[in-house]
Amino acid sequence: MKPKKILIVEDSKLLHNMYRMMLRKYECTLIFALNGREGLDQLAGETDVDLIILDINMPVMTGIEFLQEVKKNEAYAQIPVVIISTEGKEADVERGMQLGAMGYITKPFQSPGLDDLIEKVFSN
């Protein structure tokens, strides 16, 4: 797999470090945003983002709101999005899939689960 650029939109800094650890094997560039608004700012400043990992539960701008904005914008609408959800947020996940997310995984998850999801996305 050629090195990928992944945007991670997640409000917990702890999880940023977890992602760093889990995604190390993929030789990718990671960009982080603490909420949806920041995520949009990051997208505006980057080119060739290969994947967005999106936490559904965030302050300032929710995951769904962010996804709506992304899909509205031609420049980003094609970037595959993967939703990170938690138990009890099934409605949000459904909405997200309707909006065009490629897949989802529910916290708590382990590396293999994330790997499977990412590989599935990149093999398309």
Partner: protein
């Protein structure tokens, strides 16, 4: 938990602690709202958010008990936001209990996996509680007619609590979160240690400068050296002060947890008490804050258990039913004074004198102040009859020891029927101690200036012998005198004349310590000793002097206590004459 995530544990704790703290505070706030019949719903949303994030993070870290408790609390919050009838003391109790569990778990998680049992039990309790709440509601919905009382009415019925509140306050308190950088205190301590070494090197430089100045020929570079040394001095002082300030925390950091403690104890003892906090912004060195917290808890518990009288007692005495406990902190020159005052029964002086007499103290000769200080002796707390002491119970010996160990002292004032006030007099910082250096038998010791009353030159015949103990007259007071060499077990050199006597005091005890020479004042950097090497009982820390020697700092408090415990060294009143 994945191996790799072990490294992230500290980060998890750093991120979760403030959240857990907010959650706990929100629950207490909700309880207050619900007592007044208000919903407090604006508190629920952010709290649910915190719980959700915490649940997610704990889940990712594989800490199942924290994840499940957060989940249970989320469910409870959900219940409460949907059903006003559940905004009750019972629910608040559960929420607070859960918050405490989370706090307890985050406290241990870095070292150990949290015990899953309490979490399991709590979750089961919550499940059952929610289930019953829903069933009750269903039943109630089917009722018609005037017998049904609305939720609001139900809340105003006085709540008779038969069992003491289950939710206990935790013994955790967190550091202050500020808007700036979050730094590990250990790192700050390291910085201070480095500066400390710098101070010492600087004094070596001073020493060199001094010796060169004493040499016969003069060289222009000499004054350069002197200038540089003086500047360096200023720089280091600045650095030290700034770093020390960084270690200062407002006392509110620990005062905060007392709201909870007083609330719980109030329920437990059935006494109505309000807590007044004064001087919360007073800054104290973190290291002292850590140690003084427990002492304050002891004092407040004692006040609640013994000091404060029951409502009917108070009514009879014409006092307001609600008792008051005042927690106060203030600066006085270079000391910090923290006090705990209550308007309760006061200390029963007779009982203390009785007990003291049992222990062999000559109470007839003691002043009021000295008598009061007896309650801080360890022997008092091991007494079987201590429960009969109206006013104070066990734990004060611990407070006394802890405060003395920090280089501070305790004071107590009391009036029967009116109240009691405990005062902890503490140093501003533990790290640098201005001391007097003394020499005895070629050994050098440091005595903290704060504990020295005066140093006097010894004339002949000043010391008298009473009961094989040396005694001398100091400012109309007769004090016992001991030999520093004996105390510190030096090699007594026969020709050494003890030319000076240093009068030291701690609390209400005072004695003179004979030494050979006084070497002047010095700021010594304190480096704690883990295990006291043989000088065990009378010194507690060492420092390195400018010329490289290690010196022991005499632990005056311990010296005085020790000798007092052996029945010697009491302060005699001025009335006693010696021929």
């Amino acid at each position: 938990m994945e191996e790799a995530f072990q490294d992230l544990l500290q980060e998890f704790v750093d991120e979760s602690e403030p959240q857990i703290e907010s959650i706990g505070a929100a629950f207490l706030e909700l309880e207050r709202h619900w007592k007044l019949g208000e919903a407090g719903s604006d508190l629920l949303a952010p709290t649910k958010g915190h719980l959700h994030t915490l649940k997610g993070n704990a889940g990712m870290m594989g800490i199942a008990p924290m994840q499940s408790v957060a989940h249970a609390l989320e469910d409870l919050c959900e219940l409460v936001s949907k059903r006003a009838s559940c905004q009750s003391p019972e629910t608040a109790e559960l929420l607070i209990e859960g918050g405490d569990l989370l706090a307890e778990m985050v406290r241990v998680v870095v070292k150990d996996k949290p015990d899953p049992a309490p979490a399991k039990k709590f979750n089961a309790t919550v499940s059952e509680y929610i289930k019953q709440a829903k069933e009750r509601r269903v039943r109630i919905d089917r009722r018609d007619g005037p017998e049904w009382r609305s939720g609001k009415e139900r809340r105003t019925k006085p709540e008779r609590r038969k069992s003491p509140s289950k939710a206990r306050s935790t013994d955790v308190f967190f550091g202050v979160t500020s808007d700036t950088v979050r730094i590990d205190f250990k790192r700050l301590d390291t910085l201070l240690e480095i500066v400390g070494e710098g101070v010492i090197e600087r004094s070596v430089l001073s020493e060199v400068s001094r010796r060169l100045a004493a040499l016969p020929h003069d060289v222009p570079e000499m004054s350069m050296l002197e200038q540089a040394t003086v500047s360096l001095d200023r720089v280091f002082k600045n650095l030290q002060e700034t770093l020390m300030e960084a270690r200062l925390l407002p006392v509110s950091t620990i005062f905060g947890r007392f709201d909870r403690l007083v609330r719980d104890l109030s329920h437990e003892t059935g006494k109505s008490v309000r807590l007044v906090k004064l001087g919360e912004e007073t800054p104290i060195d973190k290291r002292i804050l850590d140690r003084v917290g427990d002492s304050l808890v002891h004092l407040v518990r004692n006040a609640m258990a013994h000091g404060i009288d029951a409502p009917d007692e108070r009514a009879q005495a014409g006092k307001p039913t609600e008792a008051t406990i005042r927690l106060r902190a203030e600066h006085r020159s270079d000391r910090v004074i923290v006090s705990v005052e209550d308007d309760g029964r006061g200390i029963d002086r007779e009982k203390i004198q009785e007990r003291a007499a049992e222990l062999g103290y000559d109470v007839g000769k003691m002043t009021e102040e000295e008598t009061s200080h007896l309650i801080f002796l360890p022997e008092f707390s091991t007494a079987k009859t201590v429960s009969n002491l109206a006013g104070r119970g066990v734990g004060l010996g611990v407070v006394g020891a802890a405060v003395h160990g920090m280089g501070g002292h305790v004071g107590v004032r009391s009036r029967p029927g009116v109240g009691t006030s405990f005062e902890l007099n503490l140093p501003l910082t533990l790290t640098i101690v201005k001391s007097l250096l003394v020499e005895v038998d070629r050994e050098i010791y440091a005595i903290p200036l704060a504990q020295i009353d005066e140093s006097v030159r010894m004339e002949d015949d000043v010391i008298h012998d009473i009961n094989q103990m040396g005694v001398m007259n100091w400012r109309s007071e007769l004090i016992h005198v001991g030999d520093c060499g004996d105390l510190m077990r030096t090699d007594r050199q026969k020709d050494n004349k003890r030319e000076f006597c240093v009068i030291v005091s701690s609390g209400s005890r005072r004695r003179g310590i004979l030494v050979d020479r006084l070497l002047g004042h010095q700021e010594v950097v304190v480096k704690g000793l883990d295990d006291i090497l043989g000088k065990g009982k009378v010194s507690s820390s060492a420092s390195i002097l400018g010329d490289g020697r290690i010196v022991f700092i005499m632990d005056v408090a311990r010296i005085l206590e020790q000798n007092f415990a052996m029945g010697q060294g009491e302060v005699l009143s001025a009335a006693e004459k010696v021929t």
